[in-house]
């Protein structure tokens, strides 16, 4: 619609020109003589009134027509009769092959239709999933599978299904971006690099119901790790029967979780219904979860909520005021991820200069960003790479090892900037490229940073707005100086953040390389003593501040409204989020 009304200004010009060429027969004359007694001024007035009136009428007609045709689409947001809830999904999952899924939406859907060896319960504790019990000790883990866990085609879930899925994930041909999460398993890295055959992977099915895993080295959090989607099982016979289309559509998936995908209309709808083959199906109280709308537009979703068409809607700073006036009950949630400015440390870039990075660090005030620009409760000013909710030795990591203290200091910033200019031999500095997402929130933040750099340091930045996929591609190829990036946790251990800037990590897209930091990451990976590991994370935290590897902006939170009749929705930082498997509808 936008293109057709706009793409051809030539067409507009032609139409006008045509009228001009026949001006010898003035078209407006009849009307002019008709209301000549009114005078030119009032004529204009009457015409505008008529125009506005016609416009209003047209709008009313259009809204009436849209009621006629759009009203029948979805029923009530929460329907106790059929046990159905209707929701909006922000984007469609690209595909649902668990070995290749990387994004949060895929993780959210997979968490409803699949089940791993273990899962998180509503209090975020690890509870048995397909595995009935397990022993993790030293560099070996044994999982004993329950005998009543079945695929949606009725066949039992076996240890072979896990071995097949894990081998698939580390197979070089799969090119899974999340293969690294299986690296704690013996030989996984070598298999993934093509140095060993997939059969060398240290996971074996001793019998149908016993899965034995040999680890590279003893790690204390392997049971938390296997709740991650890449560790979900896949049935080999089914996978090979789909001929490369596994996970592409509703019929191309075999389910072992609480729900199955009943209907998947690409770009429009994704409906899940309860899986009666699921071993614990009595736990599930909803019959259908219907993602009847796929839109990332906050305003559109909120309007759907207002009309009672969806049960949950997220809010942003702009819609918050409206929600307050509606006197809705608002909920807040911290999704556990950390957002920061990541520098490009490749030697060819100006930002590889530490003094320049320090100068930028000392003009930034995350509190100002969060309280004045983002303005959404739940976001907290970023102080460290490690978010506040991570557990330390006894309590929270950040209470045991506080983040380095930071305060805006313009004098120091200019000091650093002068030194940077001298070292680089450049004055003034050429514009820096500031890579950012292309969404309202990212636009607002990047323009704020642009002005902060310009007014406090005199550094000019060019904002490069890119969609998520393109931004990742540019980050990988190093086509930026600074980038607005974020990292969400994969498992509930500080290491999920701690190894991010290790020189070998593929997600270290600024290519920061520091042997001291690498050393501490190795300590954190291999040690089994909590005190030693936490001290290593503290050292990493200090290096990241002292060397200005990244500049933390905020820990992300969100505010949302929920239909009061829908209860039991679980929001969590690590694992499936939001989780509707325990949700139920209350009468009222």
């Amino acid at each position: 619609m936008t293109t057709s009304s706009s793409d051809n200004p030539g067409a507009r010009g032609r139409a006008v020109a045509g009228a001009a060429s026949v001006a010898g027969v003035p078209t407006g004359q009849g009307s002019r003589s008709g209301i000549a007694w009114l005078g030119e001024g009032s004529q204009l007035f009457i015409l505008s009134v008529l125009g506005i009136g016609a416009f209003v009428l047209l709008m009313m007609l259009l809204s009436f027509v849209s009621e006629l045709f759009g009203g029948g689409g979805a029923g009530e947001a929460v329907d106790p009769g059929t046990g159905t809830i209707t929701l909006a999904l922000s984007t469609e999952p690209p595909q649902l092959d668990s070995t290749r899924a990387t994004d949060m939406v895929s993780g959210q859907i997979l968490g409803h239709v699949m089940e791993g060896l273990v899962r998180y319960d509503e209090f975020d504790r690890i509870v048995p999933g397909v595995a009935e019990r397990w022993e993790v000790g030293g560099s070996e883990a044994v999982f004993h599978l329950r005998d009543d866990s079945r695929w949606s085609d009725g066949t039992p879930v076996t240890a072979h299904d896990f071995v097949f899925a894990w081998r698939k994930a580390v197979e070089p041909a799969t090119a899974s971006q999340y293969a690294f999460i299986l690296y704690p398993i013996k030989n996984a890295r070598a298999v993934n690099n093509g140095e060993l055959p997939v059969t060398a992977l240290g996971a074996t099915a001793v019998d149908e119901l016993t899965l034995e895993v040999r680890l590279e080295r003893p790690i204390g959090y392997f049971d938390k790790l296997v709740a991650f989607p890449t560790y979900y099982p896949i049935k080999q016979a089914f996978y090979e029967g789909r001929d490369g289309r596994y996970g592409a559509d509703a019929v191309d998936l075999l389910y072992n979780g609480p729900f199955v995908i009943e209907r998947w209309v690409h770009g429009a709808q994704l409906r899940m219904s309860r899986n009666d083959e699921y071993w614990d199906h009595e736990r599930i109280r909803l019959n259908t979860i219907d993602y009847a709308y796929i839109t990332s537009d906050v305003n559109a979703t909120l309007n759907l909520y207002k009309d009672g068409k969806v049960a949950v809607a997220g809010l942003d700073a702009e819609t918050l005021h409206d929600a307050l006036e509606q006197r809705w009950k608002l909920e807040r949630f911290n999704d556990g991820s950390v957002f920061f400015i990541e520098f490009n440390h490749r030697p060819s870039r100006l930002t590889s200069n530490r003094n320049l990075r320090k100068a930028i660090q000392f003009v930034l005030d995350p509190a100002e960003l969060v309280y004045k620009v983002i303005k959404l409760p739940g976001n907290t000013p970023g102080e460290s790479l490690f978010p506040v909710w991570l557990k330390g030795v006894n309590g929270y990591f950040r209470q045991e090892y506080p983040a380095p203290e930071h305060r805006v200091d313009l004098a120091r910033a200019h000091d650093y900037l002068e030194r940077a200019k001298q070292e680089l031999g450049l004055d003034p500095l050429p514009p820096l490229i500031f890579l950012s997402g292309d969404n309202p929130a990212a636009n607002k933040q990047s323009e704020y940073f642009q002005e902060v750099f310009a007014s406090r340091l005199g550094i000019e930045v060019k904002i490069d707005r890119q969609i998520f996929k393109q931004r990742l591609a540019k980050m990988t190829s190093g086509d930026f100086d600074m980038v607005l990036a974020g990292w969400g946790p994969d498992y509930a251990d500080p290491l999920t953040f701690g190894d991010l800037f290790a020189s070998w990590n593929k997600n270290n897209r600024g290519e920061y390389a520091n042997s001291v930091l690498d050393g501490w990451v190795e300590v954190a990976q291999s040690s089994l003593v909590p005190e030693e590991r936490m001290r290593a994370f503290d050292e990493i935290q200090k290096i990241i501040y002292d060397d200005a590897v990244i500049l933390p902006n905020y820990e992300r939170g969100s505010v949302f409204v929920r239909n009061p009749r829908l209860e039991g929705v679980v929001r969590r930082a690590v694992g499936t989020d939001p989780d509707y498997t325990n949700a139920y509808i209350v009468d009222g």
Binding site: N8, V16, P26, E40, L320, A323, V373, Q450, E451, V559
Partner: protein, 462 residues
Amino acid sequence: MNAALSFRPIVAERDVEVISRPSLSYWRDAWIRLKANRRALVSLYIVIALGLFTVVGPWLPFVPNHSAQDLDQISSPPGADRTATIVEPYVPWSGVTVNAPGGQAPLEAPASVSLAGEATTQAVRIFWDPVRGAHGYRIYRNIAHPAPDDALGMPLADVLVPSRVSFEDRLDIKPQEYFYSVVPLDRNGREAPVYATLDVSAIRVITAEEAVKRGLAGSTADLAIGDQVELKLHVLGTDYLGRDMLARLMHGARVSLFIGIVAPFLFILVGILYGSAAGFVGGRVDQVLMRFADFVVALPFLLFMILFRILFKIEGGDSGIAPMLIAMVILSWPAAARLVRGQILQIREEGYISASRLLGAKTPYLVLRHMIPNTMGVILVTITFAVPSAIFTEAFLSFIGMGVAPPTPSWGSMCNEGIKTMLTYPHELIFPALFISITVLAFNLLGDGLRDALDARMRSQE
């Protein structure tokens, strides 16, 4: 009576040959006719005012830099109160800690909630009486009283340490009334069905250093704590980053008017040359040239615009104005070319052209003396109609993010930003939208008036 006497020889009247009124040139006549058309005249004044607004506007004393962010006055509508009180710089608050009283459910509401210090836009600090058996507290803030339907508003934070009974709010505090509610939480982090509310009126404050930095006072010595200063004036309010709307509108007009005037001028120039060549030469050449023009008409503008962006290696962060201009010039000339060709074809067959030719006029003379002046009216009219169309195209492309790069504003991109806060801060959308509408309307009405004034055939009908 002598018949001869009844006849008197007439006196030769010399006045017959005198032209009683000064002769009117074509342009003078057009001007008089334009002046008689009130609509067109008002439009002309608006266009002139717009030019002044763009060129002179940014130099006016009350117009700040268009990209400067006034974070104390974010999204403030025009005419908002600007009084601020000078306070000490912000220092972190250690909060209030007590010995958490043990005990068990049911949880009761805190006996009282109180304010620590003064409630300012810098921070609002509240503390409350500990609740027996509470494992934490959740703090809400609302813009209206929670009673009667227990609408507590937005959840600001959870305090998950039972001994901590205070909270400092710094989240986007506006100088207005707020209602803070404290809800005790049980062992599992669930809310108790009770709460206590505190009514707070925050005042707008600024530190002395900030005031000096913003140019609100000469030096910090002139200011004492508690003094009142007026924050910077923003005539049309500010946008979502506290930038002055008026300055941005003036700056944005530059882009809009630049595209709106340069693009039509260029493509009509191309159109005149192309069209007059086709029309004057005629025959097979005319056929070939005009079929090529038809081909250009079929090319989609948006697609070309994107191709040019790639061709020029326009990355994000660079302005997309140049490819926009080139795409417009390359794709929009056929309309003008056809029009001019039609006129030239018509004029070529006129009697005076044949007469002129018979009298030995050469081609350049014919074109310059007869043809171009006679098509001038049509050309001018086309330009005035092409201008609003070009302004509109620019606004649209900036609206979808293919135009200017931040921080440069344009009316279209300002609309795009304003539409997100349409319901809460309507002024951010209304002003740029109004400017686009008025400008496009003014150029259209002016074009209408010019057409009436310049077209010779209109005269006989009035």
